[in-house]
């Protein structure tokens, strides 16, 4: 029988033997790369359109306003829309978990020690602002509605109705974004979660149940919809640059 003293150093490290660092590493890489890509796309101001396809980064949520009519603006028209999904995702309960763990190490993984002692959580500025998540949800609903409009428009080419690979990509993207937006925890609360007596509100109860079902995978919708926004932009950009050719299926 051997003995090993418990030292102060030991209490600052974890006994976990699994690869707990993979998840925060994935978060840092995916959010970091997506953030850089989105910023570059916004500054780039070209190749965001191809035929009836429009990149989601340049879908302005104002009726009758198209990004190309806003060339006179000093800032990129992409910034007129980007602050809404940025605010929605930054205050989203799933992304909060992801970035608190990966970027702030509060904590990096369960039962793994943190780096800093001071901690106020969401009681003080800036993270207390995360309580305004529902307002970004209100703003995100019209953004998704405009993306549906863009996705439907992507089926109408110069020669009439048709289906291109790009049309399907844009449709898939807006479906994933809708799942993400309508599985939101704040929406779940507003739709029915705030009630105590469900039996008196049958319609809201049914709605709440449906939202609850997709809310279980809210993080999944968050990640895949982010990837699909990136992929949709890359596809349209490469078509517009002439690097690839869009295939018309119909």
């Amino acid at each position: 029988m051997s003995t090993k003293p418990v030292t102060g150093i030991e209490s600052r490290k974890t006994d976990r033997q699994d690869a707990w660092w993979i998840e925060p590493l994935f978060t840092v890489l995916s959010l970091g790369l997506f953030g850089l890509y989105a910023f570059w796309v916004a500054l780039n101001r070209q190749h965001y359109e191809y035929g009836p396809y429009l990149s989601p980064f340049y879908s302005i949520p104002l009726p009758g306003v198209h990004a190309k009519d806003l060339d006179w603006l000093a800032i990129s028209p992409a910034f007129l829309v980007l602050w809404i999904p940025l605010g929605f995702r930054a205050t989203c309960y799933y992304y909060r978990k992801a970035y608190y763990r990966a970027f702030f190490w509060d904590p990096p993984a369960c039962a793994v020690p943190e780096l800093r002692k001071a901690y106020k959580g969401e009681r003080a500025f800036p993270f207390v602002l995360n309580n305004l998540h529902r307002y970004f949800w209100y703003l995100s609903v019209p953004v998704v509605a405009f993306l549906w409009y863009d996705a439907i428009k992507a089926f109408f080419f110069e020669d009439g109705f048709g289906i291109g690979v790009g049309s399907l990509i844009m449709l898939g993207n807006v479906i994933l974004l809708s799942y993400y937006t309508f599985s939101c925890h704040a929406w779940r609360h507003l739709a029915g979660g705030c009630l105590n007596c469900m039996s008196k509100h049958k319609t809201r109860y049914t709605l709440w149940q449906r939202i609850s079902r997709i809310n279980e995978s809210h993080g999944f919708w968050g990640v895949v919809s982010m990837l699909s926004v990136w992929f949709t932009d890359v596809y349209i950009r490469l078509c517009s640059m002439g690097t690839i050719t869009d295939i018309r299926l119909f």
Binding site: V6, Q17, C110, A111, E114, L132, A186, N196
Partner: protein, 258 residues
């Protein structure tokens, strides 16, 4: 049959050490079996708490290879037994001796939660859809693994201003109860410290009853706190038309069973 080394914490609140015990293990054993075998064969004074060996009494919480878990529900074939298996007491609570910790703080913090308060002359009829949510919370076995893993308590030792996930679950079971008329939002925001929770979900990850602690209890409570304190538009209308919620219900002043 093979031999496995267990590196077990021996000591009390003043400190201690990890001691290695090598034992013969059989197929189907759980960590609690191994601890009992060590007690029987090598260390009769090794202290650990247990009761049901069925994951239902919530007594045998510990940290196996750094992960908070019930020892009776952790099979050895889920662990890498080619290396020593570390077994420590729950870190967040003071050690009484070896693997037994003093979890009394949880019962003290529980007193902050106002008890179940029905309206006078309540009609005790409820429908299943009214209590579905609350029934999930009633599965809690009070193992306090969620309290142990929560970084607010574990790393920051915030035991004055925060009640922890287990007690947030209990508050949710009362706040969402169709027949309860008490208002606990002020407690949640202030002495309950729900704002300390940054929904990093470790409590949900360790819960042996698979209660969706964050998605079904804490986040819905956070949204109710937002309704009351952080939503400027709702606040405006509340001032205009008066709050629907009762703020001062009759209370016996003691933490009774829910």
């Amino acid at each position: 049959m093979s031999t496995v080394t267990f590196r077990v914490f021996r000591g009390d609140r003043n400190g201690g050490e990890l001691k290695d015990y090598t034992i013969e293990v059989q197929e189907g054993m759980v960590v609690l079996d191994a601890i009992h075998q060590i007690q029987a064969e090598q260390a009769p004074d090794l202290a650990c708490r247990w009761n049901c060996k069925a994951g239902k009494c919530g007594s045998c919480g510990a940290e196996v290879n750094g992960k908070p878990t019930l020892m009776c529900m952790t099979r050895l074939d889920t662990l890498d037994t080619s290396k020593p298996v570390t077994v420590r007491p729950m870190k967040t609570f003071p050690v009484i001796r070896d693997l037994a910790t003093d979890v009394k703080w949880n019962y003290e913090a529980n007193k902050k939660i106002k008890p179940f308060t029905p309206a006078p002359n309540t009609d005790w009829i409820m429908f299943q859809e009214d209590v579905d949510r609350v029934q999930e919370f009633r599965k809690c076995i009070e193992c306090f693994l969620c309290q142990n893993v929560c970084h607010v308590l574990r790393e920051h030792d915030e035991k004055t201003g925060f009640i922890g996930p287990r007690l947030l679950v209990r508050t949710a079971s009362l706040e969402m109860h169709p027949l309860d008329v008490e208002n606990r939002l002020d407690m949640l925001k202030n002495e309950g410290g729900i704002g300390y929770c940054n929904i990093t979900k470790c409590c949900t990850e360790v819960c042996p009853e698979h209660i969706h602690i964050t998605d079904n209890a804490i986040i819905p409570l956070k949204e109710r706190v937002v309704d009351e304190y952080y939503d400027p538009i709702l606040g405006f209308f509340r001032r205009l038309f008066g709050s629907k919620k009762q703020t001062q219900a009759p209370s016996s002043g003691q933490a009774a069973d829910d």
